[in-house]
């Protein structure tokens, strides 16, 4: 029996291959976007994990010598006192095609190094080779290949365990390559220390221990970036499910007579339901698999940009390459199944309530739907209310996202109600019979199209919202860069002695020299960089203060007050009028707060004289140089030649700005691409809805055709209808998108990045987006319109045939 029933059920798809394709595409698209985002997230997280594991960077304290590199004798003193520390030597190494970050660690004492262990096990590399000359270099595959081709380097071993963009090696090898083999950059304090070791200030008072970053570190920042991506993934997923919902609903609707017949022939409802569930799950799995493959391609295309974003924005190390992980496949297929189940729930519910002997057809047109449209709108308002409650009661990112979700889904549910009223309004303006009909007909089509239009609404709102956020971000950032990077040239000296020489040299060759001197210290157990500045017009005129006031700079350069960056202000809730106490016990009133985008750590500014009062050696190796912009290149060249400075010791402002802008532009390529994809899915939803509505369209169009409207006109009107609905939806998406942008800028951003951005509006962008949406609708409507244009009269005549 089951075989016969299966055949009957399956025959539907054989007769409606397009419907089957639509259903599978819906599932596949939903799964693809979701799993692409997941793949990106998983990959990035795996990268952080490997970096953390590799370098224990996130968890172990460091000991540094504030006056410069550490010496071997300092290391020996620590060790002979019992301190369990691992020496690290970092540096930049010139190789063909650029400079690389060389990370030399004491392989004997550094906490487990997976790269080496893996190399030993998999590739049979003996550690003896890594420890003794010439040593071994470990790097990720692409970099490793480049290095292998470079003459004069030790053998290079490719390993996925090495952090991106880093070449790992033994400290001995690093010393041999970088020169000054006894130099140590810093030591890492290992987690297990022996009993009764003497305190640091008794054995080496000149050294300082730096605790690891607590809250506000890389983890929370990148987490929020991933939360952002996940939200977009879910949104895309929801958009895809609209397609599934629509198609499954239609398929069930069309199969009602068959199901009724099967039941009349004695098939138990339970058997039928079970078989239909199995059928759907199989389809979900097929669609899900296609989606996974698609998702892999999307992720592969986007990942390099994501990697660039994370590296640029947060300094988080992420590789641009993708690996397939089982958890990702499972999550993708799981979402396909769950999503399909959720999208078909309504259809099954209806099926269960299907009376055995109800007559087919006779579906009411508008009256019945008005009520349900209003009910949907009430539910939508409820969701919006829930979102607002979430943000009133809760705090943090999750509440922000709840508000977003509430608004987006709520607004989507209100869409049919709003559209139907807008269409009523439009109908009232109609002058001719034809336009009157077009408006009325659009309203009649609304129930069939509303799901697709909701999808479009969400896609558009996300597009406007994220676009506004991105552009606001960019605009603010550009302005900030202009204010912040005022010196034409930035120089970094090797050490204090060279710094002093450079300062003297620059005194003769430039307008003014601004020393950039900073101390890293702790504030509320988080690291803070405190800068010392000299009094200069540059700061007074340009420094980007969020809280400008009279005499701010007089107080700061007079040593009376401190400036802090926005991140610190928001994180610790410190504002002008409050005070900051820095170790050991110097307290300053806060004179102002300045914006400091792209930097996760706390920062403060004092006068350079105040900085000296901390009793710590303040390195004097960095300088901002003011000089006419046409002299920058010459001075930089002379400087490099006179002091034998490496290229990265000199940064000219224009270059730095360009580089910064590039990073920030890349940041949003990803969200931009996701938006376009989401819009594409929405377009596909419209397209499939129009196709499924096709059979219902002819009876409505045939009488109009019979009254003397050509098929060409009708086809044109079909397109127009699709465009008008899209345009109206876009119009409604605008306020929703702006609201989304506001939440992103004022709620999510503060949580995620630690800074709040002013919101700028970009009507031209909206116009472009609107045009894009209209174009999407136009493309979606093209095929149905073409079909209408070519429909044989005989098909239209069937509408009038007697036996209906």
């Amino acid at each position: 029996m089951t075989g016969a029933i299966l055949q009957a059920i399956w025959s539907h798809w054989r007769r409606h291959p397009l419907q089957l394709a639509t259903l599978l595409s819906g599932i596949a698209l939903a799964t693809a976007l979701w799993s692409a985002v997941q793949a990106i997230n998983t990959e990035a997280r795996a990268n952080y994990a490997s970096a953390t594991q590799q370098l224990a960077a996130g968890s172990l304290d460091r000991i540094i010598d504030p006056s410069g590199p550490m010496t071997l004798s300092q290391y020996r003193i620590l060790r002979r006192a019992g301190w369990q520390v691992a020496a690290v030597r970092e540096g930049r190494l010139a190789v063909a095609g650029g400079r690389i970050n060389l990370l030399g660690v004491d392989l004997l004492s550094y906490p487990t190094l997976p790269a080496i262990a893996e190399a030993s096990q998999v590739q049979g590399i003996a550690p003896v080779d890594a420890l003794s000359a010439p040593g071994r270099l470990f790097a990720r595959a692409p970099l490793a290949e480049r290095l292998q081709a470079t003459a004069g380097l030790p053998p290079v071993i490719a390993s996925d365990q090495v952090p991106v963009g880093t070449v790992l090696t033994d400290i001995g090898t690093a010393g041999a390559l970088l020169g000054e083999p006894e130099q140590i950059s810093h030591v890492v304090v290992l987690s297990k220390q022996p009993k009764g070791i003497p305190p640091l200030d008794q054995i080496a008072p000149e050294l300082r221990r730096i605790s690891t970053q607590g809250d506000g570190g890389i983890a929370s920042l990148t987490d929020s970036f991933h939360l952002n991506l996940t939200a977009f993934g879910l949104l895309s997923f929801a958009v895809g499910l609209f397609i599934v919902h629509g198609t499954v609903g239609l398929a069930f609707e069309q199969r009602r007579p068959m199901i009724r017949t099967l039941r009349a022939l004695g098939t138990p409802m339970r058997t039928l339901r079970r078989l239909l569930v199995v059928e759907l799950m199989i389809l979900a799995l097929i669609g899900g698999l296609v989606g996974l493959v698609l998702g892999l391609y999307i992720a592969g295309a986007l990942l390099p940009d994501v990697a660039a974003t994370l590296r640029g924005l947060y300094g988080a190390p992420v590789d641009g390459a993708l690996t397939i992980r089982p958890v990702w496949v499972a999550s993708g297929l799981g979402m396909a199944l769950i999503g399909t189940a959720a999208a078909s729930g309504q259809a099954f519910w209806k099926l269960a309530r299907l009376p055995l002997l109800s007559t087919p057809g006779a579906r009411a047109w508008s009256g019945q739907t008005q009520g349900s449209v209003a009910r949907l709108a009430v539910a939508g308002l409820g969701l919006i209310g829930l979102g607002v409650i979430a943000v009133l009661l809760g705090d943090g990112l999750i509440a922000g996202f709840a508000l977003l979700a509430g608004f987006l889904m709520g607004a989507a549910l209100c869409l049919p109600f709003l559209l139907s009223h807008l269409l009523n309004l439009g109908g009232r303006t109609a002058g001719t019979a034809l336009s009157e009909w077009v408006w009325a007909d659009m309203k009649a089509q609304l129930p069939g199209l509303s799901l697709a239009l909701m999808a479009l609404l969400l896609a558009m709102a996300a597009n406007i919202g994220v676009g506004t956020m991105v552009s606001s971000f960019r605009l603010t950032f550009t302005g900030w860069l202009d204010q912040r990077l005022t010196a034409e040239l930035y120089v970094t000296a090797r050490d204090d002695a060279q710094g002093a020489e450079i300062e003297r040299w620059l005194g003769r060759h430039s307008d003014r020299v601004l020393p950039i001197r900073a101390l890293e210290m702790e504030h509320e157990s988080a690291p803070i960089f405190v800068y010392g500045v000299v009094d200069d017009q540059t700061y007074r005129q340009h420094w980007p203060l969020l809280t400008p006031a009279e005499g701010v700079w007089d107080r700061v350069v007079g040593g009376e007050a401190i400036l802090i960056n926005e991140q610190m202000a928001r994180r610790n809730n410190l504002w002008p009028g409050d005070t900051v106490t820095l170790p050991p016990d110097l307290t300053y009133p806060i004179a102002g707060v300045y914006s400091d985008y792209g930097n996760p750590t706390a920062q403060a500014i004092l006068s350079v004289d105040e900085l000296a009062r901390f009793g710590l050696p303040v390195p004097n190796t960095r300088f901002g140089v003011r000089l006419p912009s046409d002299k920058v290149a010459t001075v930089a060249q002379e400087l490099a030649a006179s002091f034998d400075l490496p290229p990265d010791a000199l940064i000219d402002q224009a270059n730095l700005k360009a580089r910064s802008m590039e990073i920030f532009d890349k940041t949003f390529v990803v969200t931009g691409a996701l938006n376009i994809l989401t819009l594409g899915v929405a377009g596909f939803a419209i397209f499939t809805s129009l196709l499924t509505l096709w059979t219902q369209r002819l009876p409505q169009l045939a009488p109009v055709w019979a009254m003397g409207i050509t098929r060409r006109q009708l086809a044109g009107l079909e397109l127009l209808r699709s465009v008008i609905l899209a345009a109206l939806t876009t119009a409604l998406a605008l306020p929703l998108g702006l609201m989304l942008a506001w939440v992103l800028l004022a709620v999510i951003n503060v949580e995620a990045f630690g800074w709040r951005l002013p919101m700028f509006v970009f009507p031209v962008e909206w116009a472009k987006l609107g045009a894009l949406a209209v174009l999407t609708a136009l493309v979606a409507g093209l095929l149905p319109a073409r079909r209408l244009l070519q429909v044989p009269p005989s098909d239209l005549l069937k509408v009038f045939a007697h036996e209906r």
């Binding site: 508008s366 009254m707 098929r711």
Partner: protein, 215 residues
């Protein structure tokens, strides 16, 4: 003469002939009933006259317009202003109100006569129903709307295909009465397809179609 059908042939796509050498004339204001069995080709002939379908050979002329010389737009224009149709299944536009349906064709043709429109609504007994949607009124009422929609145009030629086929006998008689009355008042000619001898008898003239030929 208003309508002239000369030697018209029409075959189904498969090649089976539907109409063979059909010739027929209709004067202005004349009513003609086209009778015949199911499948005799009477609806096909009506569709040809309505320009809804193409004939294979012969010629149809309506008020000196040769059908064979018309393109798609020309045929649509002819339907819009010269011919009005009443179908068995009423075929109202579901998304428009009764009032909008009533005036739709006339407004399409740009010949709306509000006084005539009002008269029609009154005489068809639709005054109370004007704001309703088609699905909210009975079958008989729907057909009266369809007749009103056609007659609002005061078309030279009204084509009706089994206009009372979906109605019971009482309603059917009333609807026929109204239609004939309005056709006469508007001075339109009527080509009426029916299988009912009683209804056919009310036309000025009857033509019987049998196996695609005039008997």
């Amino acid at each position: 003469m208003l309508l002239s059908i000369e030697n018209v042939d029409k075959a189904y796509p498969g090649g089976r002939p539907v109409l063979t050498g059909v010739s027929l004339q209709l004067d202005r204001g004349e009513t003609l009933a086209l009778t015949g069995d199911s499948g005799s080709g009477k609806s096909t002939l009506l569709n040809l006259v309505a320009t809804l379908d193409h004939f294979d050979a012969g010629e149809i002329t309506l008020d000196q317009t040769l059908y064979s010389g018309l393109d798609d737009a020309g045929r649509a224009a002819l339907r819009r202003s010269q011919v009005a149709l009443v179908f068995q299944a009423f075929n109202l536009i579901p998304s428009l109100t009764v009032a909008q349906n009533l005036s739709f064709h006339a407004r399409l043709a740009g010949v709306l006569d509000p006084a005539w429109q009002e008269t029609l609504a009154e005489r068809l007994g639709l005054t109370e129903l004007l704001d309703r949607m088609p699905e909210q009124v009975s079958g008989g009422q729907q057909q009266r709307v369809a007749i009103g929609r056609a007659m609002a145009l005061k078309p030279p030629l009204l084509l009706a295909d089994e206009p009372t086929g979906n109605l019971d006998e009482v309603a059917s008689a009333a609807v026929m009465d109204l239609m004939l009355e309005l056709v006469r008042d508007a001075g339109s000619a009527l080509l009426l397809v029916t299988h009912s001898p009683a209804i056919a008898a009310r036309a000025d003239r009857q033509v019987h179609l049998s196996q695609g030929q005039i008997a």
